[in-house]
């Protein structure tokens, strides 16, 4: 039944003796089929083109966003960490004549609700491109987000070493900070590898990033030579309660190691500067601040103010009035992130000579001895031998306002030593001392 019906339909379709224009109908049918095919091919071609263009825009937008991040960091450096550019920071960058636009915003990192890390910024950059090509997305946008540690990388800011690193420290010292003017004057020293004058420190240079030596150890035990038994400040003076030492005579305090001259002196029941971690980081901002490493001895003269830390493998000697060392402090509420930089670290002796005045709120560590002969002040002193012959006070100025942070407990390990920059990084410098 069905077969007969199909034959009838086919018979009707077949040209009859009187049918005309069959060729035209056939042509129309062929054209219809071909048109359908070509439409599909064209659609695929257009789709492929649009896809390729969109993918390229997608790539462009990513690099425009990254460009915004790097531009903001560069602007940030101009004004210093304390003066970031106004946000949102916007700009354009050309791509084949077409401007891609970036828009950067930032905020403090908040790892968990209520805990704000002010030393870490979260930068968000949105890159937008619009080629205007048909089939592409109008104003295609991609977003890049980075965390920026404003403390910078781990590094020494300034590294100095003797001409012969293997030789014993020379006398006179190799690094001589200050003079009659006092402050280090960065614009005066433009030599990339060292100062014009050999008695003053140069400015930090970009290639100092290569000096990556660092200290990152919890101070195993610390020692305070003077101070009150204030639990908040965690300062202790063995056997005394006064905050100021006024002894006029030569006095020797031995806290850490048995002293052959005063074997009867007992160790303090408790001692410590606070809960702190010794960290050295490259600091952004002013050129006359940072962490100074000297492979040798250091003399600091009149009126010098350094925001940072001086580290010397030999002696540090203060000869002058109004010398101030302001260590770097990071009073993060996050205990793990809290850092306190020491003010001075000397492999051997630290001396504050006659008629000198010295002030710091930081930790002083001397591998051999600390000697003060005049009215001075320090945060706390850590040394096997402490000699005080003049008025001396200890004021530990770091904020310890977060009681949740664990207190520092002295250990039995030896005092921390710093890692010197690798010798291979030391480059020859034809003056008395040189900078890496």
């Amino acid at each position: 039944m069905g077969t007969e019906r199909g034959l009838r339909i086919m018979n009707d379709l077949l040209p009859k003796a009187n049918s005309r224009g069959f060729a035209f109908v056939a042509v129309l049918m062929v054209m219809l089929v071909v048109a359908i095919l070509i439409t599909g091919v064209l659609a695929m071609a257009v789709s492929a083109r649009n896809l390729a263009t969109s993918r390229h825009e997608y790539t462009e937008a990513l690099y425009v966003a990254e460009a915004g991040i790097n531009k903001v960091i560069s602007e940030w450096r101009k004004g210093g960490a304390a003066n970031p550019p106004a946000q949102p920071y916007q700009g354009t960058i050309a791509n084949a004549g077409l401007a891609g636009a970036y828009r950067v915003t930032w905020q403090y990192w908040e790892p968990e609700p209520g805990l704000v890390r002010q030393d870490v910024m979260v930068l968000t950059s949105r890159g937008t491109v619009n080629t205007g090509l048909p089939g592409t997305i109008y104003n295609l946008t991609r977003t890049v987000q980075v965390n920026l540690d404003t403390n910078g990388d781990w590094a020494w800011n300034h590294v100095y070493c003797t001409d012969d690193p293997d030789a014993e420290f020379r006398v006179p010292p190799y690094a001589d900070i200050g003079g009659s003017s006092g402050y280090i004057d960065p614009p005066s020293y433009l030599d990339e590898h060292g100062p014009v004058q050999s008695n003053q420190l140069p400015t930090p240079k970009w290639d100092e990033w290569e000096a990556t030596a660092r200290v990152y150890d919890t101070l195993p035990y610390s020692k305070v030579s003077n101070g009150t038994a204030d639990p908040d400040r965690h300062l202790y003076w063995s056997g005394q309660t006064t905050a100021t030492h006024t002894g006029a005579d030569h006095t020797h305090y031995n806290y850490f190691t048995p002293d052959p001259y005063f074997p009867s002196l007992s160790y303090p029941a408790a001692y410590g500067c606070d809960n702190f971690t010794v960290e050295f980081r490259k600091q952004a901002g002013t050129d006359y601040s940072g962490v100074y490493f000297v492979h040798g001895n250091v003399i600091v003269k009149n009126g010098v103010t350094i925001t940072g830390t001086i580290v010397a493998t030999g002696d540090i000697t203060f000869q002058g009035q109004g010398i101030t060392i302001i260590p770097l402090v990071n009073n993060e509420q996050d205990c793990a992130a809290r850092t306190v930089h020491p003010a001075l670290i000397a492999g051997r002796d630290i001396q504050i000579r006659d008629q000198s005045t010295f002030h710091t709120t930081g930790v002083i560590w001397a591998g051999s001895s600390f000697t003060a002969k005049a009215a001075d002040q320090a945060g706390c002193i850590v040394s096997p031998h402490v000699w005080l012959t003049g008025n001396f006070s200890v004021t530990y100025g770091f904020d310890t306002s977060n009681p949740a942070c664990p207190r520092y407990e002295p250990g039995s390990s030896p005092p921390p030593m710093f890692n010197e920059p690798a010798m291979g990084q030391m480059q020859p410098f034809p003056h008395t001392w040189r900078e890496l």
Partner: protein
């Protein structure tokens, strides 16, 4: 000369065949419609090929920028003219040129900022097929 009619033996079945005129008209109509179709085919093939080339050029540009990220900041500098890119051994279809402009100088505070433009050309072409631009700066603040 040509005669229309029922020729003997021309259509034994008695049906009239297609005349030459009908066939010509049909072919003409077909040609008129097929011409743009063939042009369309050609264009589609060209567009597909260009899309493929463009995607490859974009990948090359992206690869070049990523390579620059892996080197030290000081090593980022303009290339000496164009250099050929081997997509496959012996295939020198693309050329790449890197242009680096110092936006901020290298010093202790700024630490430098460079504008990097990577242009990918078809070999022999004067205009770049793809250009990617971005800023580079050393890490840290």
């Amino acid at each position: 000369m040509w005669r229309r009619g029922r020729g003997r033996g021309a259509c034994p079945s008695g049906r009239r065949g297609l005349t030459l005129v009908e066939v010509l008209i049909a072919l003409t109509v077909l040609a008129v419609f097929l011409l743009p179709v063939m042009i369309g085919f050609s264009q589609a093939l060209i567009a597909t090929s260009q899309s493929s080339i463009s995607a490859a050029a974009s990948s090359i540009a992206r690869q070049m920028i990523e390579d620059l990220k892996a080197v030290s900041f000081d090593s980022i500098q303009s290339s000496a003219g164009r250099s050929s890119v081997d997509m496959r051994p012996g295939d020198l279809f693309f050329q790449v040129e890197t242009k680096v402009t110092v936006v901020e100088p290298n010093d202790a505070t700024l630490k430098g900022l460079k504008l990097v433009e990577v242009s990918v050309y078809l070999t022999g072409s004067k205009t770049p097929m793809v250009v990617l631009s971005t800023y580079f700066t050393p890490a840290g603040v």
